[in-house]
């Protein structure tokens, strides 16, 4: 900590000293006008400063290149000119050459790294850009560049990214004293998350308490804190936790997805507490963007809740939704079980048996793979299910983005030159290898969880088949009557019904209503 403090002080002193001579951001000491005025004021100053001071400090130092060559100081100006003329493909190799052949003490070194990163972002090579931005954050050679680099990095975190390099090693390890408020807020949030992950709630609270109450990070921090507490809680969840989740579900500072996650958490907690009416209310508050199909888990959980409330026709209607093409690839073994239960409750035993068997038929290969103790990551269904959730999903997306960017890189083989192209290729190869390792690690665990889920559902289906088999051959006693039909809710005066004929409309997915008369006789009725 002390070393960090000393380094921080040294950095701030260097910043002060450099600010007096030629600050590339403010351009205080820039005496010469840039050759071509760039559109951005701050960036223009950077160009101006380079003209003023690059010549004096352009001494080459040991670089990863085999033999560092002397670089023309004007190269930086040319690169900036290319960058501001929307030619990132031309700017990037020049900036690369500049950074590879000049010492990190060069006045424009950090700026060159920064504009190289910006050029790479423009070329859709975001991971390579993140590497350079992270390097600026770690090296801290120019305090004026640092906040800008962090802002860019923060923006990159909205897309699939290297969580270890950016979230943990940059934002999770930043000295927070000198950062602008917005970046500091994000860094506090990330550092709090890191603390939460290692189980240090007190330290996390310290970080989170520094977040402005009105910031989105404060809301996200509350959510993270609640989820951590929820994971830690064994039994008897405190009721106020549900209320806190509910508050977050209405928090406009959170994204719609995060609000929906909070509401889903409320619904699940209420379901666990057997307060099904309140759970249903929470599910109904989940808002979907217009014409978005929504999440399969939302529908399935709502269907279970309605089933528990005795609304079996509505539950079956929701199960119809889950047959929509949007959800055909979803891993939902519970769906068949619930369908079988509903048919059984309406005493339609053959359809119940068929629905139950559908699960074992549909997942036969996966069940065989589990029984034979094969490598479950080779099973397409389990693999898809495991890769569609949580950290495994993030890992997959990051890996896909690396592969995509790696392919993109090939387009610049000519314009980047051998050295830069070789460096970038190695960078992407190494990052991809690490991403594959992380993804495989997460995948193995996630696949096991999905396999457990499938096995549990398969077991329940066997019990169900047995029960239905008994019912099928049950003798009906003399004088037995059909139970009074469950009255299906009639159409309201302002309602309209569109008969479903195997054509799914996204705006209808939450509104399907199933109609089937019960065939139960009094003694077998539910």
């Amino acid at each position: 900590m002390r070393w960090a403090l000393l380094l921080g002080l040294a950095a701030s002193l260097t910043a002060t000293a450099q600010g007096k001579t030629a600050d590339p951001v403010t351009g205080d000491a820039a005496t010469k006008a840039p050759a071509a005025a760039p559109p951005d004021g701050g960036m223009a100053a950077a160009a101006a400063s380079s003209t003023a001071g690059a010549g004096a400090s352009a001494a080459p130092v040991a670089a990863p290149a085999p033999a560092a060559k002397k670089v023309d100081p004007k190269l930086f100006d040319q690169a900036l000119n290319d960058f501001f003329s929307n030619r990132p493909k031309d700017a990037a190799p020049k900036l690369f050459e500049y950074t590879e052949n000049l010492p990190s003490t060069d006045e424009n070194y950090a700026w060159a790294q920064f504009f190289l990163a910006k050029s790479l972002i423009d070329l859709k090579l975001r991971h390579a850009a993140a590497v350079y931005l992270a390097r600026i954050a770690r090296e801290r050679t120019n305090p004026a560049v640092l906040p800008k680099a962090l802002e860019e990095l923060q923006r990159l975190t909205d897309l699939p990214h290297d969580e270890v390099m950016i979230d943990e090693q940059v934002f999770g390890a930043l000295d927070l004293g000198f950062l602008p408020e917005e970046v500091a807020g994000y860094a506090h949030y990330q550092q709090g998350l890191v603390d939460l992950r290692v189980g240090n709630e007190r330290w996390a609270t310290t970080h989170f308490s520094k977040l402005p109450e009105t910031s989105p990070e404060a809301s996200r921090a509350k959510y993270a804190m609640l989820v951590t507490r929820l994971k830690a809680a064994k039994k008897d969840l405190p009721k106020e936790m549900i209320e806190q989740f509910f508050e977050l579900g209405k928090d406009p500072k959170l994204t719609l997805e995060a609000r929906n996650d909070a509401l889903m958490a409320v619904a699940r907690l209420r379901y666990e507490a057997q307060d099904f009416t309140a759970a249903l209310e929470a599910y109904s508050l989940v808002q979907l963007p217009s014409l978005a199909p929504g999440r399969a888990s939302l529908y399935l959980e709502e269907a279970w809740t309605r089933y528990q409330l005795g609304q079996i026709h509505a539950a079956m209607g929701i199960l119809t939704t889950l047959d929509a093409p949007s959800f055909r690839e979803e891993f939902l073994p519970d769906k068949y079980l619930l369908k079988a239960l509903i048919y059984r409750d309406l005493c339609h035993y053959l359809p119940a048996k068929r629905a139950a068997k559908e699960l074992t038929r549909r997942y036969a290969e996966s069940l065989d793979a589990i029984r034979e103790r094969e490598d479950l990551t080779k099973d397409a269904r389990l693999l898809r299910a495991a890769a569609a959730r949580g950290s495994t999903k993030r890992g997959r997306k990051y890996l896909e983005s690396l592969e995509f960017e790696g392919e993109q890189l090939g387009r610049y083989a000519g314009s980047f030159g051998d050295r830069m192209f070789g460096y970038m290729t190695r960078l992407y190869d190494l990052s991809r290898a690490e991403a594959v390792r992380v993804y495989d690690d997460r995948l193995h665990e996630a696949v096991r969880v999905e396999a457990d889920k499938l096995l549990r559902a398969a077991e329940q289906v066997r019990v169900m088949e047995y029960e239905v088999g008994l019912k099928l051959y049950e003798r009906i006693k003399k004088g037995s009557k059909l139970v009074t039909l469950i009255e299906e809710e009639p159409l309201g005066p302002h309602q309209i019904a569109f008969k479903f004929t195997d054509e799914y409309w996204n705006d209808e997915l939450r509104t399907y209503r199933f109609s089937l008369k019960s065939r139960c006789i009094e003694e077998t009725a539910r």
Binding site: M316, P351, R354, H494, Q495, I496, K499, W505, E508, L516
Partner: protein, 209 residues
């Protein structure tokens, strides 16, 4: 007799198919939704064209008010239109080459009327698989009084139209009506036909507000 048995035996498997389908997928499913757009007080501003007369084409601007009792029935309480006549080449030729007097051409100058609307069809359309638009189709039956060049004459109109909802306040509607004008007044001795094509903007107050 044998033929009847043969037909019955051929039909029997069909009923088995029906039963099998019922056994496999019992029950029916409907999407039950709150009606997205409902109208109550509708002010409509329209433009239209009278196409049928060979001697002139009438362009008109119309203002109307309709009250929607429910989702199926409405009364277009009143509508009034002022017509601008554009002479056709035929009329000019008759006047120029055959010295036909301008007063012998009977033109609609303005008209007012009222209609009942029956709206049996309400639905939605998928637009390029990206958007959903709602609309309705209706039938019109009403009465109109036309002011011709030298007389007022009543007419009975039937027609239909369609409406596309933009939002809960605004909708576009297209009406096409055929007016059977009675031979009363101005020395008219026969029925006349006036077809109107109207494109309008409906502004809704109430209903889904």
């Amino acid at each position: 007799m044998h033929r009847a048995i043969l037909v019955l035996s051929l039909l029997a498997p069909l009923s088995v198919f029906a039963q099998a389908e019922e056994l496999e997928n019992p029950g029916t499913v409907s999407a039950v939704q709150e009606r997205a757009y409902r109208m109550q007080h509708e002010l409509n501003l329209s433009i239209g064209i009278l196409l049928l007369d060979a001697f002139y084409k009438g362009l008109y601007a119309q203002v109307g008010y309709a009250f929607h009792f429910n989702d199926s029935f409405a009364w277009q309480v009143g509508r009034g239109a002022y017509v601008y006549s554009a002479r056709t080449g035929l009329r000019e030729q008759l006047e120029r080459d055959f010295n036909v007097l301008p007063t012998s051409f009977d033109e609609v100058q303005f008209f007012v009327g009222s209609d009942l609307m029956w709206k049996p069809l309400y639905g939605k359309l998928s637009v390029l698989n990206r958007w959903v638009v709602h609309g309705e189709v209706y039938v019109l039956l009403g009465a109109t009084i036309f002011k011709f060049t030298d007389s007022f004459r009543p007419g009975i109109n039937v027609g239909g139209g369609g409406r596309i909802f933009v939002n809960k306040y605004a909708s576009f509607r297209l009406d096409i009506t055929e007016n059977l004008v009675l031979p009363t007044g101005g020395g008219a001795k026969s029925f006349a036909n006036v077809m109107t094509i109207t494109l309008g903007l409906g502004i809704n107050f109430g209903g889904t507000e």
